[in-house]
Symmetry: C2
Subunit: 458 residues, 2 copies
């Protein structure tokens, strides 16, 4: 009923979005330094937006007004005293609820952790705080980050702001929704097979996952440690870049020469999965204004990629959860439990082979990337399906939603490469995403392409 009301409200007033809609981190930073806005004002804007919108969207599990306002007051006092911590100083952020934030509950989206309150900060959170960011709350995660939908967690689904009857995508669904709805300008997610990029694409925001291992995962609940990375969701690619540099402990602005963008490899998506023709067209067309040569390329062993991914992900995920399944199976969401039981059946020798295949594929990708500055392909082959949907159609072909959603993002977790999803327009009333991939250390190429990408007439 709430959903219906929200849909009706949006139909009546389609522009209704939160305080941060249309503002970049840089915009806000300038305003704060010229005194037209304060960190406390920003938190109040975030809190008001959450209060207004979130009952219908489910982006936040925990909102921490006093906690956030106290941090914002410190940020304002520092700035008044001449202490400027850089571009994230005073910026409100949301943190995915599998990441520990000292003093706040961290539920992992699971009844197993219903009463867990964090006693330490994850290292990525500590870095955000050191950079002056202000944590306003914890965002909804698919239970234990184990699902690309965002519609199964102990505290309910996160909902797509473009149509709350549809999925946000996941598992970092709440972070994508919070940014897309303008509740916060930046939010942390995690990405094991696409959990940052998928909800970014489905909600129409930017999402960046770094090269594997670049941002520490201490204090982040593991899904599959050799694939897991902390990532960032924001309204624009440039805001992702700003947060990424903080999270990776890099200087605020890159040194060295500018980016000389010459060649883009277009990965034909149908080698990976049946792809909605409109999404493919939008994503491909978005590259036209970039001004680089675009060539078609194929990923190595595209056909076997998903087997490699699932062998690694399943083995590592069940290793994390085996004791919990044995002791308290009933506390899992039934669908997540079924997925875990299937993961438990992955053979050890298949895991060994998958690790070996990964090593070989990483070498082949290095060779491919030596010939291109950036690879590009759709982020997902479909737009946001309805909440709870597990099968759907793409171009009239029946497909499973989970393999579809993971098909274009998970290869880059296997390869361990940095990848960015940016919005490229709408298919009907739902957003589509373009994914950009490059070599570790060449992340600036991603942001340079993103800056020139056409948003499909939006």
């Amino acid at each position: 009923m709430e959903t219906e009301r929200y849909v009706q409200a949006r139909q009546a007033q389609p522009g209704r979005t939160g305080y941060f809609a249309g503002r970049t981190v840089a915009d806000f930073g300038r305003a704060m330094r010229t005194g037209t806005v304060t960190a406390v004002g920003a938190v109040e804007g975030a809190l008001a937006s959450i209060a207004e919108l979130d009952a219908d969207l489910g982006a936040f599990v925990t909102v921490a007004p006093e906690y956030a306002l106290a941090a914002a007051r410190r940020a304002d006092a520092e700035l008044a005293a001449g202490v400027d911590r850089g571009p994230l100083h005073g910026i409100p952020v949301g943190i995915k609820d599998i990441i520990e934030v000292e003093g706040l509950p961290t539920t992992m989206g699971s009844a197993h952790f219903a009463d867990h309150v964090s006693t330490v900060d994850a290292e990525c959170v500590r870095r955000l705080r050191t950079a002056g960011a202000v944590i306003v709350g914890k965002t909804t995660t698919h239970e234990f980050a184990y699902g690309p939908f965002g519609d199964r967690s102990a505290n309910g689904p996160s909902r797509n702001p473009h149509d709350p009857a549809r999925m946000s995508g996941g598992s970092s669904g709440g972070s994508a929704v919070a940014v897309a709805a303008g509740m916060v300008p930046v939010a942390l997610g995690t990405d094991t097979g696409g959990s940052v990029r998928i909800p970014a694409a489905l909600c129409g925001v930017a999402g960046f996952k770094p090269a594997h291992g670049v941002i520490p995962v201490d204090g982040v609940f593991p899904l599959a440690p050799t694939l897991d990375d902390v990532g960032v969701l924001a309204r624009t690619a440039d805001d992702c870049r700003v947060a990424y540099r903080v999270l990776a402990d890099l200087p605020a602005e890159p040194g060295g020469p500018g980016v000389d963008l010459r060649r883009i490899g277009w990965v034909r998506p149908d080698a990976l999965f049946e792809t909605d023709h409109d999404i493919e067209r939008l994503a491909r067309a978005a590259l036209s204004p970039v001004g680089a040569e675009v060539e078609e390329v194929e990923l190595p062993e595209a056909a076997g990629m998903s087997e490699t991914y699932f062998a690694i992900q399943g083995s590592e995920a069940y290793a994390e959860h085996a004791d919990r399944v044995a002791a308290d199976a009933a506390l899992f969401d039934p669908e997540v439990l079924d997925r875990l039981k299937l993961a438990a059946e992955t053979a050890g020798w298949r895991y060994v082979r998958a690790l070996r295949d990964r090593g070989r594929l990483q070498n082949e990708m290095s060779a491919l990337l030596s010939r291109y500055d950036v690879l590009a392909l759709p982020t997902t082959p479909l737009v946001a399906p309805p909440l709870g949907a597990r099968t759907t159609e793409i171009n009239g072909t029946a497909v499973g939603v989970r393999p579809a959603m993971l098909s274009m993002t998970s290869p880059f977790n296997v390869f361990g490469l940095p990848a960015l999803s940016v919005p490229v327009g709408m298919v009907g009333s739902l957003p589509a995403g373009l994914q950009l991939v490059t070599s570790p250390g060449r992340e600036d190429f991603l942001f340079a392409v993103a800056e020139k990408v056409s948003a499909g007439g939006h």
Copy 2:
């Protein structure tokens, strides 16, 4: 019948052993440099010993007289010309038949490789050749090195020289037998869970496995790559040391100060497996003349060690053999095939956990080894069982031969530590071994202890 004849012959003439019985590599090196013996003479001695003894012992799969004599002639010519390649110059060696030796058949003990002739040298073989060693042939391996018995291979079992109706131990059984019977002074083996140390103990010779990864395994057929190491069998620990330094590409004689031996940790074997009381007594007593303080210690999580070992070994072994099982199962020895099929059932998540446990255990062992120069325990909890035996009794308790044999050696493959087995006397007419273990880089401590160990009155 051959076996009976050999047993009778040995009973009539118990001293009947090969040309190299009772001689060390150093003895032979001195004799060669004073002109009282030549490399060609040494090869002739090896060939004569093999011809005399090996029909009954099965140490060699391939003997290469012309190949060996040609190399020996080169070694003699070099020495005559003043080119001295060091302590292995002109020394005949045997090479386990899972290690590639250019120009010779390498069968892996398997019908799958019945016709395989190596076109390259394994790196360890290349190092031996560069040091002047002379390869006389390939030694029997348990099929694909997958078994600690030495009694299952496409070319028949290797037999214990102390009682040819009994196992040599394995999988490097042929190398242990060749050395024990005096056919060659030194032979290469490989050790994944004890495959050098077990046959060394059961045949009454010395066997050394290095710290994991110290000797390259290029050109060595894998069993379980994260556990596999090339090792060496020789009559004495000092001969192992000489060959080890060549194989690890170290200078012939260690530099730095001598070894100051203070504390030995005695690992109570019954925490690992039921242990023959006589073996335990011999091994413990052998430490008395060493003159170091001996304290009882326990290995971390001794009870779970074998599960960790088998999860790693099984997953990795089946990853090597899955395609072969699918294509040509009938070419496997039935027992090895059964073992592979069981290995295939190891769950991926158990492998993931075993790797994690291994990392933790390695740290705990580092801490333990910081308090002791050397750890000591029996190499095996039993003496050589009859060929084909898969169950036996230890102190009146029924046990499986495979888990018994691997129980005291495989932990040190999991830990990745250097380990040496040396003979400590006889239980009845069969040899028992003492295992010595230390930290990587402190191998000299093993050899220093071995030099002082009592051989139990032999």
